[in-house]
Symmetry: C2
Subunit: 256 residues, 2 copies
DNA sequence: TTTCAATGTGTTATTATGACACAATGATAT
DNA sequence: ATATCATTGTGTCATAATAACACATTGAAA
């Protein structure tokens, strides 16, 4: 099946496979070089970017749909994902983007389930940046990471969705496994602090931060220090997964 | 149009008016005689109860849909409502309830948009119990309040939705205007404390509670006391609406 | 060998919270 | 009229959590 045929099939008969009027958008967060990043797709034939998204299959749980989408874009499996908000403005429809896209692919179509209004559920994903192999989908020409503070122009309400995702992450930080999911297995205390500072977008006191995070008991200090750094070498830590998961449920119990 | 015709019309052509595969369910909380209550509907021709719910019109924001549903069941306008979770188990479909319902109404129908799977968005509403005039919808034979701890058997996953709504209310209590929305305009400190105790399902220290809630500055003590009570008459309070709304945004800033 | 920026650790003041006690009130009972 | 007593109004103290802050240690680079 050629690309054009695939697209035509999707627009004509996708509703036999997918639920109507409802979609999923993923905000995939990563952390790299002291920057909080999100994975975005470049919409084909447009100079705008989009959140990785997709539709829910008829027999599929919405959470599964989100994980399927994540897997396709990143290659990653078994990742923390959580719905955070539903976006339902009546005018958040794909009509313009869709018709431009179809026109450029060389398809004319009077009607399609894809032209209808979609209500979208936003999902937060926390992934290990270094493990991701970004893959564009059929509607996109590129898939890339962006610093959360240098977001390109985005389609529809995707900028709003992204903003809300970040707000939710900041507000519910104690219920998100940011440390375990965004950092490599071994990391230093300054790494962990920088992660929190970047997400919260404010400085934290080094000593108080260490006291509180160590106080939760979720960390195991290793008998290794980071190699090849100027100045005093910091210890490496890893998470005590059992205690980590336990602490998450009750919300990490500390204010930053 | 007879009732049967209305139902037939809804099953046959409702999808021209409403979005497909997505619905809204409302958890309407009220507070009366020291009990936290929810408003439920009795499904016609079944001995099960259901959350007030409905569908989203094609040009309508989901929040509006929730408010429309609330208005129809309670007569109330301009009420605090907030989405809290999306329920999307593939098996949460209305097939059985629907066919039983149609059979009893005397309609036979091979296919309908109503038979499809629905993903439902849960909304929390906080209403003043005494102002509500419960009204059943066309699918229901009754509309009544139930104590949150004596819930009757419910259809589908509605018990789960209710449970999640309560959890969310407890967890996010500082972000919900329970005092302003669930109590009458004038109330006593014991009233307010009882409300919090009932929602959280645990006792609170009377003196610490007063210190904290007064500390937020959201209360105005009136120069009146409650009349006709045995023992010492408590003062009446009302909310300082401006400060109340301000405090809500940043989350009431106290632990209970 | 010295420098120096970053790390590891401890102390103190302030604030928030939890536990608790006693005086004041006013309808009800006598 | 007076006493009773459950409930309200208010204050104190011990403890825990947080914010603010200082100094010794390390080890690569100069």
């Amino acid at each position: 099946m050629t690309f054009e045929e695939q697209i035509r099939e999707h627009y004509l008969n996708g509703h036999e496979q997918y639920l109507r009027n409802i979609s999923v958008d993923c905000i995939i967060f990563g952390f790299h070089e002291d920057e909080l990043k999100v994975l975005l797709l470049e919409a084909k034939y447009a100079r705008q970017w989009a959140l990785p998204g997709g539709f829910i299959m008829k027999g599929e749980h919405m959470d599964e749909a989100a994980k399927r989408i994540l897997k396709h874009r990143t290659g990653l499996d078994d990742i923390f994902m959580q719905q955070f908000h539903v976006f339902s403005q009546p005018d958040r429809s794909d009509k313009k983007v869709n018709s431009q896209f179809l026109k450029n692919v060389g398809i004319e179509m009077a009607d399609s389930w894809m032209f209808e209004r979609f209500i979208s559920v936003g999902y937060t994903a926390l992934v290990n940046f270094t493990r991701v192999k970004p893959v564009p989908d059929s509607f996109s020409s590129a898939c890339d990471w962006f610093n959360i503070h240098s977001i390109p122009e985005m389609i529809l309400d995707h900028e709003l969705i992204l903003k809300k995702a970040l707000e939710n992450l900041q507000l519910q930080l104690n219920y998100h496994p940011v440390g375990y999911n965004l950092l490599p297995a071994k990391f230093t205390m300054p790494d962990l602090q920088k992660l929190y500072e970047t997400i919260l977008d404010r400085k934290l006191d080094r000593r108080n931060f260490q006291r509180k995070i160590v106080g939760t008991g979720i960390l195991q200090r290793l008998n290794e220090t980071k190699k090849g750094v100027a100045h005093k070498a910091p210890y490496l830590y890893k998470f005590d997964l059992r205690k980590y998961q336990q602490a998450l449920k009750s919300g990490m119990g500390f204010e930053l």
